[in-house]
Symmetry: C2
Subunit: 792 residues, 2 copies
């Protein structure tokens, strides 16, 4: 690893940069501690200090250093740059810098660049009614809160994609660097095309400690660290030291070197006609003391350059006279009187160091991506719709047809370069392969002749890391572009915590009027629980829906389109929405087409409805058969078929649910059906047999307030499954047609005694199935060949 | 990277190994395809082939090669070795090998080592009523199913910990290697003490492809790959080729070299008195063709050495004459007639290559860890209990006291080396620091003078990767030892999918009588949602409980002890259980002690109960105030205090829930309360105001069948929160004492009109609080200083 030791700064420039850095440090300490007396115009007294001290000093001086030096580069090069701050606890640094540069005041005009503004800035930090201690959505220029740690690099790569003129400076904390998602996201550089995409400049901030431990990468020696970073495809430059003068010189030199190299790579790559190759992208390793310039020791214990500086180095300021003096000395060590004028406004020489307004990182439109969002040009979904002469007469392949629609969406938006499809390794397996007619899979690593669809210009991103896929897509959406994540249903749980954080981000931005809405996060979950009969139990889990519906109702939407045309309509809708997390679950296997395009579009618009073609209730059912999800819909219709054949006098109503949130109260979710409409569909007193795609309890959780809830009987996945046949999967979970029909007999009082022999026959079919399946390895012919509406 | 090219095998030995490998390959192909005619005694006909072809050929020949060569080393060195197979889809390989070596038949006596046994082995694979296609719990010798990918290495390190004589051979697939959890788990070697722990031998299997893509690590060039592996602390040896003769020689030489080096490292490290240092552990990179020895081309497309060999290379065998011939040729290319005798029994020369029974990897007791489990010697929890003169009169620090208990558990079991505490970086922050009195944090990386508690012999494992922590602990438990995972509540979602897989494993082993119960997976979730007022919204998420309760009821347990003594009793219980996932949520902040030891132990044994000291209902309440969780309990008691002061005639009953599953039906969960008991607690017709720790809907999901459900009103976390004060957190979510008291007034008919002024006063207090908090940054004194039972 090359240790950088150039001296590009003149004395004057160095002093100016150092003053700016001191100002940022002063403002950071002020945020953590001060409730009043922001300029220290009078001696510091206990009542000037916040009653609860909350914040993270440790990473802050390093972040301030980075920010100051990036500003220098932006000014000198007229650079379009944004920052992604992995050590999210370093909120004070980014708040301080965006205030200093003017972005904060531009965003929050009340927080002026003067003494009252500074006082407000200080007070609001980690204070009730104020802002969090992270680089949260409230911080202008942020797309990465960093509360959970691990996603900075993948966010940065998502932001850089399709933004050829953008450089994304990404600070990776050495704590964060230990997480799995971060560790593998280094490989994102194999998916970045230097011709088409922007650049990411990773800055690994090795300040050496986490909360109470050393950081691993700080303790493996420079040889291993260098090998590791070269191994992930980077050329690292080391900036190391604790003397500010030396570190400023080295950091300036390193930033210059890296940006020069990035420019060189891009110029080379952008020669038309040459093949795109993968360079070793430059990066910086910044090794400075944790809590740098803070108290060296407190109460006799070393603090600077140890984990003890992680949060608040002086904790007893309000009661401990020594701590109070130490704090005042610390604050005054930055010489605020040189940095701010009488009114608290940063002195001219500082203000001159901020980039011009449109280039300030805190004002980057990319970090308020909605500003840049352009609606997708979407094909007319009706043109892809499958013809349906009679419901259920023929099979369709939902994801395959949607793949054709998506192919043309790529085609229509090719010139805008604003759409991506991500997934671990499953675009083909999930039957979306049509997209490869117009675009490939991004790939800037080694190639072989037998490879298919690999292309540096590809718009499909596939890496066997759900975390990286999710991080890329979030970064892409947060910078205003569009995308779809296609995943096996069970394994999307891998990103549970990431979708949590994204949903929390969206909830927060809904309350920030300066943040413009961004395209929704669209999940297409296929290869779902009911068709993982081949992969078995470990691949069977429909619980992502349960996970998502706990997030704020204004943010989450869940759709279970039962066939090809409803999937088309649903996805077309989702791609037009903003600020949602849309979860769409749909199978990839051939399955009956129930609704023609018009019926599908209407059904999806309603989100829930009676399927008249299937029922015979004439407005007065004996039983309601409800279903949500493709396989439950199939089994429900097959059960209705059995019932109508064997119990022709029974009046059955079939209700299908596409938009799951229609089930919830209208007071709980904006899509919730008003009670009268719910009652009209489900009756107020008739048994309802509900066949549901996921864990059955979710339906109870959504409907417990409904009038007819006590008559609701839900079948769903009850964590039973293995490697078996498709029909056996539903049998194991009591969701099969025979069991649903038996449920009806058990719940409709008039049938209990009258239909004993039918019930026995149904039960026998289940036994026959098991015997047949375990003997021959396939389902009974009458199940495999069953079709709705065929004379039986 | 050193390419290994020794030739340690004599011709005879080489031929014998190759024959064993061919036998394993034959048995693997047989599993994927054959329903009958297992020895090809007659020409292959369509009806000999399974109707559905399910399985993964691509990784299988490489795994077979590895297994055969490990067997050689085990025999030659009398090695205690177990295997962890990352490419979990390679089930056929491990099933084949365990049958060949005799472990399968020892486990499943019906599947004999002869023709009928072979036929059974073939049929059962990926067949209804049979076994999954992964290295699932059904496979003897397995502790890593591999269905989800990413956890092999961390499992291997967990298994090696505290097993100094064990070598864990861990095959890492090049697909799996792209996942985040795997990518960071390479660093596990910084936590492995060569003196005390066993060794892990990673074998990176670079067969080059995933489902439909090249594998990244196969396409970054040998320089970067070598750098990467050295960077994570290994000395890699390359075995490469497609000529079996050469690869056998190289693989034998590489295995010898690595095991020699491991032995050398261990001998050196085990010299008493010398400091423990971290060596560069050897590992193998095995680069062989995907689908090696399978069909080169099918229907004109290249298959061997491409992704097309991932699953079933010949898919049309039942209908396509060419495919059928190709399959027969493929099977016969292994010369089964040389490998199995007339009866289908492996020939003597093969059987002689299996290790002796007790050393066979398929029979390793470590992989059936319950066999080796030794009960923990646990301290008497009563001795740690805090005295409680009056309920709520004094505060305790629950996790701090539990830390003292845990310290002594470490002390009592030190000689057995069978207990570990894992967590990302939070043992101290979660107030469990007392454990450092008797043990340290495992750490075999660089040290500095200022470090605290780092110790190669430490029993605490801290790495800022929840995935690695979870993987280590799972590996440790699955090999029969004990442990606790302490985590911030919000961020345990990071391992949602891992706990899914572990719960599925446990559900499956409950149905395998040869698998002995293992110690439970114990989560202590602290720094929970209600006390993340300082870290803010991104740190607030109580949804892990919701996630876990979807798993099989027989496996999951959830506890919410409300104070110090109940936490002690709960953890003491959990550490004694087997085959559960125990989720315990408890705060780390000082909070009232409600129950003395006797009351706490009794309350925890019941799991739910009336708190007579708090209520005044005399068996006939007007309202039931229920609570689960420490903060909800506090707010409930404070609300009761207000009600009893302002509405002294109101009869209030307080019910506290420790064991959340008591709420569910006894038919749904083994801990569920029978209906009459539930009704006795909650009444059948009185309003119940339930203050719950997590998302309120979960309580409805658990209780919707209960008779009094329609009178149940739940308050909980509704995804509102930010950086604020502790009391403001409950106010934002309507869980505060004032709101709970208002809920009572709103729900008890007699109060609605009578208590108007009290209700107004309560509402005013909420406003007062907000004004005070946002002005002063702390809670109202009457909230901060409130205590139960103090004259107000």
């Amino acid at each position: 690893m090359e240790r950088v030791d150039g001296h590009p700064l003149s004395d004057e420039e160095l002093q100016a940069l150092d003053a700016y850095w001191r100002a940022a440090n002063y403002l950071s300490v002020g945020q953590i501690y001060l409730l009043a007396n922001p300029l220290l115009k009078e001696p510091l007294r206990p009542e000037h200090v916040k009653p609860r001290l909350l914040g993270h000093w440790g990473t802050t001086p390093g972040l301030n250093l980075v920010y100051v030096h990036l500003n220098r580069a932006i000014r000198q090069r007229e650079l379009s740059m944004m920052s992604v701050i992995g050590p999210g606890h370093g909120g004070p640094a980014i708040v301080a810098n965006t205030w200093l540069e003017g972005s904060w005041t531009a965003t929050y005009p009340n927080t002026t660049q003067d003494e009252p503004g500074m006082a407000r800035l200080f007070k609001q930090f980690s204070f009730p009614g104020g802002i969090p201690s992270h680089v949260a959505p409230e911080v202008p220029g942020s797309i990465n809160e960093g509360g959970e740690l691990g996603y900075s690099l993948s966010h940065a790569y998502g932001a850089a994609a399709d933004n050829p003129d953008l450089v994304v400076a990404c600070v990776v904390g050495d704590g964060e660097a230990e997480t799995g998602p971060l560790a593998t996201s280094w490989h994102s550089n194999k998916f970045l095309n230097p011709r088409r995409d922007g650049a990411v400049l990773p800055i690994l901030h090795l300040n050496g400690y986490k909360i109470a431990n050393p950081a691993l990468l700080a303790r493996i020696g420079d040889d291993e660290l260098t090998a590791l970073l070269r191994g992930v495809g980077h050329e690292p430059y080391l900036v190391e030291g604790s003397d500010p003068v030396e570190v400023h010189q080295a950091m300036a030199a390193a930033v210059d070197k890296c940006l020069d190299r990035i420019r060189e790579i891009q110029v080379e790559a952008r020669v038309e006609g040459e093949p795109v190759t993968r360079p070793a992208w430059p990066m910086i390793v910044l090794r400075t003391p944790k809590g740098w310039t803070g108290p060296r020791t407190v109460d006799g214990e070393p603090v600077e350059d140890t984990w003890r500086s992680h949060q608040v180095p002086l904790s007893g300021v309000r009661t401990n006279e020594d701590h109070l003096r130490q704090l005042e000395d610390w604050l005054r060590s930055y010489h605020p009187e040189e940095l701010f004028d009488e009114n608290g406004t940063p002195v001219e020489s500082l203000l001159a160091l901020a980039p011009r307004p449109s280039l300030r990182m805190g004002s980057s439109p990319h970090a308020n991506g909605g500003l840049l969002t352009r609606n997708l040009e979407l094909p007319e979904p009706a043109e892809y719709a499958v013809p349906v002469k009679a419901p259920g007469a023929e099979d369709g392949e939902p994801t395959k047809v949607f793949g054709q629609y998506l192919r043309d969406a790529f085609r229509l938006n090719e010139k805008h370069r604003n759409l991506r499809l991500v997934g671990p390794d499953e675009t083909e397996s999930n039957r979306l392969g049509a997209v490869y007619d117009v675009t490939g899979k991004a790939w800037v690593a080694g190639r072989r002749d037998t490879d298919l669809h690999l292309d540096p210009d590809g718009r499909v991103l596939e890496m066997l890391s759900e975390h990286t896929c999710q991080g890329w897509l979030e970064g892409y959406l947060l910078t205003g572009r569009h995308g779809v994540f296609s995943s096996y249903e069970a394994f999307v749980h891998i990103v549970d915590s990431m979708v949590n954080q994204h949903a929390k981000w969206l909830k927060t931005v809904n309350r920030l009027d300066w943040r413009r809405p961004i395209p929704s996060l669209n999940y297409l979950l296929t290869s779902h629980v009911w068709r993982q009969d081949h992969n078995g139990f470990s691949h069977q889990d429909p619980g992502f829906i349960d996970h998502v519906v706990n997030k704020k109702a204004e943010v989450v939407r869940v759709y279970l389109p039962p066939d090809t045309n409803t999937l088309l309509s649903t996805m077309d809708h989702c791609l037009r929405t903003r600020n949602y997390v849309n979860v769409v679950v749909a199978g990839k296997q051939p399955q009956p087409n129930w609704l023609d395009w018009e019926a599908a579009a209407l059904h999806c618009a309603r989100g829930i409805g009676v399927w008249d073609f299937a029922g015979n209730d004439e407005g007065d059912p004996d039983v309601v058969m409800a279903c949500a999800g493709d396989v439950p819909t199939l089994e429900t219709l097959a059960a209705v078929d059995l019932l109508r054949e064997h119990l022709p006098d029974l009046r059955v109503r079939v209700v299908n649910v596409v938009d799951l949130m229609r089930l919830q109260d209208s007071t709980e979710h904006p899509h919730g059906l008003p009670d009268p409409e719910f009652d009209a569909l489900f009756t107020t007193d008739k048994p309802v047999i509900f066949a549901y795609h996921g864990y059955p309890w979710l339906i109870h959780r959504l409907t417990y307030r409904r009038r007819n809830h006590e008559n609701l009987h839900v079948r769903g996945y009850i964590e039973e499954g293995t490697t078996t046949t498709p029909f056996d999967m539903v049998v194991l979970n009591n969701l099969d047609r025979y069991h649903l029909a038996m449920d009806v007999i058990d719940r409709v009082p008039a049938l209990r005694t009258k239909a004993v022999s039918v019930r026995q026959w149904l039960a026998d079919q289940r036994v026959r199935h098991r015997v047949h399946t375990t003997r021959y390895g396939e389902d009974l012919p009458e199940v495999r060949n069953w079709r709705w509406g065929r004379p039986s």
